[in-house]
Assembly symmetry: C2
Homo-oligomer: 198 residues x 2
């Protein structure tokens, strides 16, 4: 989102996180601005009995973890590399200096936060209605617009596992599997050797 050269000009350093590596943890105070160069990162919570809720999944050129950075609050979730990933880290002070000296970046940040707030609003409304079919469809349609789903002759490939869909919608795997089957029967999506197309 912020050009790499600009970040590096302010002293950003590239760091490599192996798959599964923890980038930051819930409860800690933010110290850096994070922007992905390559790979995939998820932000998620684990509740008392180990159940995961995925707040969001981020891909190359996307940033994550800014809200608590701006607010001086503890991270409300963990950031974990889903794949081997390269991430640019810029210390808070330097990031703030970058913002001050480059007002156009502020607008970018605002738009990015607005986008994520929009997603959260839509999903919150959807999750409260409780109907699994609604939740799953909304997530997929959102993913088509904002995650990097690829289109081929069968439609958009939803490249999430059933478990991930469950963790993003607050449903259990079995429920997701049964829901997807039901949606296929209704003809609103296709399952071609276990992969879901919409």
């Amino acid at each position: 989102m912020i050009p790499t050269e600009l970040l590096e000009k302010y002293g950003a350093l590239k760091k490599v996180f192996d798959k599964m590596a923890i980038i930051f943890e819930e409860g800690n105070l933010p110290a850096y601005y994070y922007q992905i160069v390559s790979g995939e990162v998820k932000m998620s919570n684990y509740n008392d009995d180990g159940r995961e809720f995925i707040q969001g999944i981020f891909y190359k050129e996307q940033s994550f973890g800014e809200p608590p950075l701006f607010l001086n609050q503890n991270y409300p979730a963990n950031a974990i590399a889903v794949e081997d990933s390269e991430v640019l880290l810029l210390s808070k002070n330097n990031f703030m200096k970058l913002l001050e000296e480059n007002p156009s970046v502020s607008i970018k940040i605002i738009q990015n936060l607005a986008q994520r707030l929009y997603y959260k609003s839509v999903m919150a409304a959807e999750m409260s209605t409780q109907e699994p079919e609604h939740r799953v469809l909304k997530l997929m349609d959102h993913g088509i617009a904002y995650f990097n789903f690829q289109k081929d002759e069968n439609g958009y490939l939803i490249n999430f596992t059933r478990q991930q869909i469950g963790d993003l919608t607050g449903l259990r795997v079995e429920t997701v599997i049964r829901t997807i089957k039901a949606l296929e029967k209704k003809g609103v999506l296709k399952i071609i050797n276990r992969k879901v197309y919409r």
Copy 2:
């Protein structure tokens, strides 16, 4: 959040909305920046069978409805006056000009969006865990920090109706009533002639 004088300098006009009046509707394109002078506004969705989900409640000096304004997207929810309210409206063009010419306001906007994203993240994780007691408590504790709950000798008065708590947490009124009773029995909150204190 943005000083009244600054908004008025850029041509903002004060508009009065009676209790229950619709300020904007889901699906419409944004045209204004909205900031409350007095009163109370809720943003909410109604699903197919008329059930309401409250995205958030806003009070004096707070703004609402900016994300879609920045993104040129349709409103994902309705804004409705909960009480008779005065609201400052500033047209999109003038608002953008204000932002460009007053970079410090951008930082305010960023912090505000970050705060709301933080709330949504916490509630989303909480709502996915499904346990009513968790959801209700989290909402109350959030409310103590961010809504204007008043403290007296019994603790903080949670001035939401059971119905509102339900609409904010995705639970039914009866469930909220039973949950609050259970929480009282556990001693984590007080009910004094039907009012809830925490």
